[in-house]
Amino acid sequence: MWSFPTLEPVVLTQGSFAIERVLSQAGEVVVSVGASVDPDEVIARSEDVEQTMTLYVASELGVESEELSKYVAKSIGSSIRKGEVIARVRRGLRTATVKSPVDGTLVSVDDSSGTVVVSSSLGKRDLLSLVSGEVERVIPNMGAIIRTSGTRLYGIAGFGTEAIGSLVVGTDRPDRELTADNVPNDWKGKIVLAGMTAGVPALTRLVEVGAAGVILASIPEGDLRRFLSGGQMDQDGFWNPVTAAHGDLSHPSVDSPLVIIVTEGFGRRPMNDRMFEILRGRSDQIISVSARTSLGNSLARPEIYLDDDEGTDRGIDDRIVDRRPLRIVDSGAFSVPATAAGEPYVRPSRFGVREVVVNVFLESGQTRTVPTTNVEVIE
């Protein structure tokens, strides 16, 4: 029986674990098995790949193919931005347009087929190690598996990409909110521990000063959506894109200007004490964060890596045993601290359905019986 989506505890301290680092497209792996790597070391890079796209512009404009050239708004060879008009035609008081779906270059206009070809670049990408460790296995053309010693914390949702930076503590308690006034000018490149949450003004201020990332317990979805989409997207468009079926948590076109790691969930809840305590203890140290989040069949949760000199290669499990620290993650009241009072057991529900539950002690001293699906092992 497992709890946390990744089948492991939320917190692993001074452990030995392996992380898989892979490019999003094939490239060159620049490390070999056994090599020692540092967090900011490039382990693989993908080359600039050109991709062409044929756009059926004449039919989209409703003009004859052979007349297409008359309506093309850009010259061949010119660069073109995503959303920029490629061709337009006037129809009475209205103008019909075809816009470029990508950043790229206008390659050709074909009046026989009524098409325009646009080329775009997938860009170069350097893949960093993110952790100190040793290359355990090379994944040809894609990346490597790196074994490292240290502390790893799982978040539950992330936005943006990856960051390495010095950790600064933005709030003194896990139930405090980071405000814009608390963000000084010298947090450029920092990863900020924000406590319970941060509103849009504070997130905007973090971007202004050039912070690399922020770790917070929770955030209301509306705040996050407004911050990342500038208030342009509604809940359906932002949180339920057509790619949701493939694991995307939010619309794939939304880029976050800084890495945001949410550790508990959506809403306003304090950060788990243990997680906050570990992070606060690493103030001014270099840490790495990966915001990659995927639901469903391509499961991934954000990760925070803290280097330790030593780690023990003990087994990692999330079995619920007596006195193990937990958090209860009911959808409406997530991240409630608790301690296991014994081991899970099977009991019939009101309807006779046998379900696995566990008794827990709450911080108030009360006990509660909770389905094991609703608890996560902290450490």
Binding site: M1, W2, P5, L7, M53, T54, Y56, S59, E60, L61, G62, R91, R94, A96, V98, K99, P101, S113, G114, T115, I156, A157, P220, E221, G222, D223, Q235, W239, N240, P241, V242, T243, A245, H246, G265, F266, G267, L295, G296, N297, S298, L299, V329, D330, S331, G332, A333, F334, V346, S349, R350, F351, G352, V353, R354, E355, V370, P371, T373, N374
Partner: protein, 582 residues
């Protein structure tokens, strides 16, 4: 239309039901494994006093998806729990005479993704959408969402949408704009196919357009096609349904044994639900709807002579809860009996999406889930519009509607979602926490007598009887008055105003008689104004954990309210009417 089945075709269960006992008792213990991405359930049937009966069930969270991605783990766990409960060896070899047939149902692999792309208006489009949804498929219809403001097919929007969906199958339809749009559509798929999207392209177009496509895409593409003008619409739909069903079953068949050494016959959840629902409809001569919300939503509807089925693998209150964002926020909020802002409800939905295996254990969460289930049911039911009727006599719902806090929450979600308006004014709501209906349907494909026995003996016990008072009036105006007389002579007198509900206690197995008198403008089952109506056990009045509900809200239930607050206030009042503490 293919999903509108002629239910005169026998289910195979009826004849055996008549002679149940001997035949089913000889069958040995039967096991059904019901799996999807949310749960794995094992249901065991065996002979008890000459009849096949439900013996035990067990369920655990599914291991179909990550991080385990191995269904056999959950299947073995379920079997182990059942073995512990019953002392039986359920994984014995094929020659063990104590064991009968085993079946697997549900969605043991991910559903197919199907995109329907019409080039202009095409009458087949909605028919094919309904057809696709009668299989284990997520159906995307790409019409306005891939067109410019002028209504012209946009190759860039189409390509972007198809890359986002990454469908297994695309159905490209010749429509009334094919002359001007066919080349764009074909060219777009020419761009996509080198990237392996889609796996298969089904072309429904005249020979001329098919030839153009073949020449443009070459021999390498996986193409099938037919000219729809040469066939009746239902024949085209049948062909598509067969194609999708075969493809899904082939993929299921390619999976290993699912952790069981015995042969497992796969019966799709829709077929299992269809068999059992049809059997129930014919046996009781009633209109029956079965609803299951687990990983996705499945609905079967059947009368004596007609029926329909629908799967929405992309809609539920677990991993696919984000589909509810497609419903306007005000509408969604107005069904929740609590004061929640749009952001609060959005947070709740996203927290469930992040941790989809979490159960609603707190009262507040159960109230929210009940309200959201209303929309899951109504959205799916709307997809069957034109196929189904609201004249529903019996509703059978799976475990997703069995709320620990109060079973009336599930009943409320079903009544509000389906809004039944039965001919005789009486609806029985049955809660089936063990999923016996679907398991019986699955085993019915192998051993009809077992299924018939189980449905008759173990499924058909209602949780609630709902009396629907139809008509309109002003809020608070008396709609109906009446008297419920119990077997021991005790009576409860009541009156219910228009726009309200009333819950009357009548326990499982208890009998009572209900006498109702409708006010002018209101009726129960077509009664005349002022006419006294008597409803007894023979008319479907049966006791259950929830009891009897008098529903005097008229139809439709969610009439337009001037403000969101007014709608929310109505919903809160209905929950309170049923004695549900908020």
């Amino acid at each position: 239309m293919v999903s509108y089945r002629n239910s005169d075709a026998p289910t195979g269960l009826e004849d055996n039901a008549i002679t149940s006992g001997r035949e089913s008792a000889d069958a040995g213990a039967s096991l059904v494994i019901d799996v999807d991405a949310h749960i794995v359930r094992g249901v065991l049937f065996d002979s008890v006093e000459g009849q096949s009966r439900f013996i035990a069930s067990a369920q655990v969270p599914s291991t179909l998806g990550p991080p385990i991605s191995d269904l056999t783990v959950a299947v073995r766990e379920v079997i182990s729990i059942l073995e512990e409960q019953t002392g039986m060896d359920l994984d014995a070899g094929e020659n063990d005479s104590a064991l009968g047939p085993y079946a697997i149902t549900g969605f043991p692999i991910r559903p197919l993704s199907v995109a329907i792309v019409p080039t202009g208006q095409q009458a087949l489009t909605p028919i094919l959408a309904v057809t696709g949804r009668a299989t284990a498929s997520i159906v995307h219809i790409l019409t306005d969402n891939v067109r410019t403001e002028d209504g012209v097919l946009s190759s860039t929007l189409l390509e972007s949408r198809i890359r986002g969906i990454r469908p297994d199958i695309v159905v490209l339809l010749e429509g009334d704009r094919a002359q001007s749009e066919w080349a764009s559509a074909v060219g777009t798929f020419g761009n996509l196919m080198p990237d392996g999207i889609p796996d298969q392209l089904i072309v429904l177009a005249s020979e001329e357009f098919q030839q153009y496509l073949i020449q443009a895409l070459g021999d390498g593409a996986n193409l099938t096609g037919l000219d729809p003008s040469q066939y009746e619409a239902h024949e085209v739909a049948s062909a598509l349904e067969a194609e999708l069903t075969d493809l899904y079953e082939q993929r299921v068949g390619a999976e290993p044994r699912m952790g069981v050494s015995r042969d497992l016959k796969y019966v799709s959840r829709l077929r299992a639900g269809d068999l059992a629902t049809r059997f129930t409809a014919r046996r009781l001569e009633r209109s029956v709807v079965s609803v299951d919300v687990s990983s996705g939503t499945a609905i079967n509807w059947s009368t004596m002579h007609a029926g329909g089925s629908l799967a929405r693998p992309d809609l539920d209150v677990h991993a696919n809860i984000r589909a509810l964002f497609g419903i306007p926020a005000g509408v969604l909020r107005s069904s929740i009996p609590l004061d929640m802002s749009q952001d609060d409800l959005g947070n709740w939905i996203l927290n469930r999406a992040l941790r989809p295996r979490v159960k609603s254990a707190l009262r507040r969460d159960q109230l929210i889930e009940s309200g959201l289930l209303t929309h899951v049911v109504s959205s799916a039911w709307r997809d069957l519009e034109g196929v189904v009727s609201d004249q529903i006599d019996i509703i059978i719902a799976g475990e997703g509607f069995c709320f620990e806090y109060d079973p009336a929450l599930g009943v409320m979600a079903l009544i509000n979602g389906l809004q039944p308006a039965p001919l005789n004014g009486v609806v029985q709501v049955l809660l089936d926490p063990d999923g016996l209906l679907w398991s019986a349907g699955a085993i019915g494909d192998l051993s009809p007598a077992v299924a018939a026995d189980v449905i008759e003996n173990d499924v058909l016990a209602p949780a609630a009887t709902v009396v629907v008072v139809e008509g309109t009036g002003t809020e608070g105006q008396p709609a109906v008055s009446g008297k419920l007389t119990y077997e021991d002579g005790e009576t409860i007198e009541f009156s219910v105003n228009y726009g309200s509900m009333r819950r009357l206690s009548l326990g499982e197995g208890d009998q009572a008689t209900l006498i109702l008198t409708c006010e002018p403008g209101f009726a129960v089952g077509g009664s005349n104004p002022g006419e006294q109506i008597q409803i007894g056990p023979d008319d479907g009045l049966r006791g259950g954990e929830v009891g009897v509900i008098i529903d005097a809200r008229g139809r439709p239930v969610f009439a337009d309210r001037e403000t969101l607050a007014a709608g929310q206030e109505d919903v809160r009042r209905w929950y309170l009417d049923l004695g549900i503490e908020l």
